[in-house]
């Protein structure tokens, strides 16, 4: 289970709504499966169907996490118009090991859905989210 503070959970959904209809993306940091930090990242694709994180921001966040004694726990992105499950492209590009992949869907107006998955070697396993 990935444990996420309610403030971070709500911020992920806010980020998705603010970015709509563009896909948004970000990184969650923490320790021992408990999230304590959220980093909103730039989607350089600026697309409603794709996202690519900005590499300089990625390096900056990873170094900041390391300095703070934290690790990257999750990568999140939004699906503005499709369900909260990984697309074929999401699965193919889930390259970073040992992280959770969170998807927030805004497909149903007024009812955002946030799901978490562990993805490795093309295999997708749903993961429970505990809002703390």
């Amino acid at each position: 289970m990935l444990k996420i503070p309610k403030a971070v959970h709500d911020d992920i959904i806010s980020h998705a709504k603010e970015g709509f209809p563009i896909e948004v993306c970000g990184i969650l940091g923490g320790r021992d499966g408990v999230v304590s930090a959220i980093y909103r990242m730039t989607n350089t694709d600026q697309s409603n169907e794709h996202f690519t994180m900005e590499p300089r921001e990625q390096f900056s966040v990873v170094k900041e996490l390391r300095t703070g004694g934290l690790e990257m726990l999750a990568i999140y992105h939004s699906h503005p118009e499709t369900p909260a499950r990984p697309s074929e492209e999401d699965i193919r590009l889930a390259l970073t090991p040992n992280v959770s992949y969170l998807i927030v869907s805004l497909a149903e107006p007024g009812r955002p859905v946030l799901n978490s998955f562990r993805i490795a070697a093309g295999r997708v396993e749903p993961e429970a989210i505990g809002v703390i």
Partner: protein
């Protein structure tokens, strides 16, 4: 032997004075190196320069996987 800092940790490469980026990624057993972004001493490298960029003793290397995807 080269002593490097890789993703914030000390790493030693035996038997070489310098290696290019593909060789370094092989030495480090990095999977799917085609999807890796590399920073050398604070500068992000263009992939087209991987072959000609040499990593030497004392250098600091960071690498990250491409992070992207799509809703469709």
């Amino acid at each position: 032997m080269m002593n490097l800092t890789v993703n914030g940790k000390k790493a030693a490469i035996d038997g070489k004075d310098a290696v290019n980026i593909p060789a370094l990624l092989t030495e480090l057993k990095v999977e799917q190196p085609d999807y890796v972004t590399v920073e050398l001493n604070g500068d992000i490298l263009e992939r087209e320069n991987f072959e000609t960029t040499l990593v030497k003793d004392g250098d600091s290397v960071e690498f990250l996987y491409f992070m992207g995807g799509g809703g469709r």
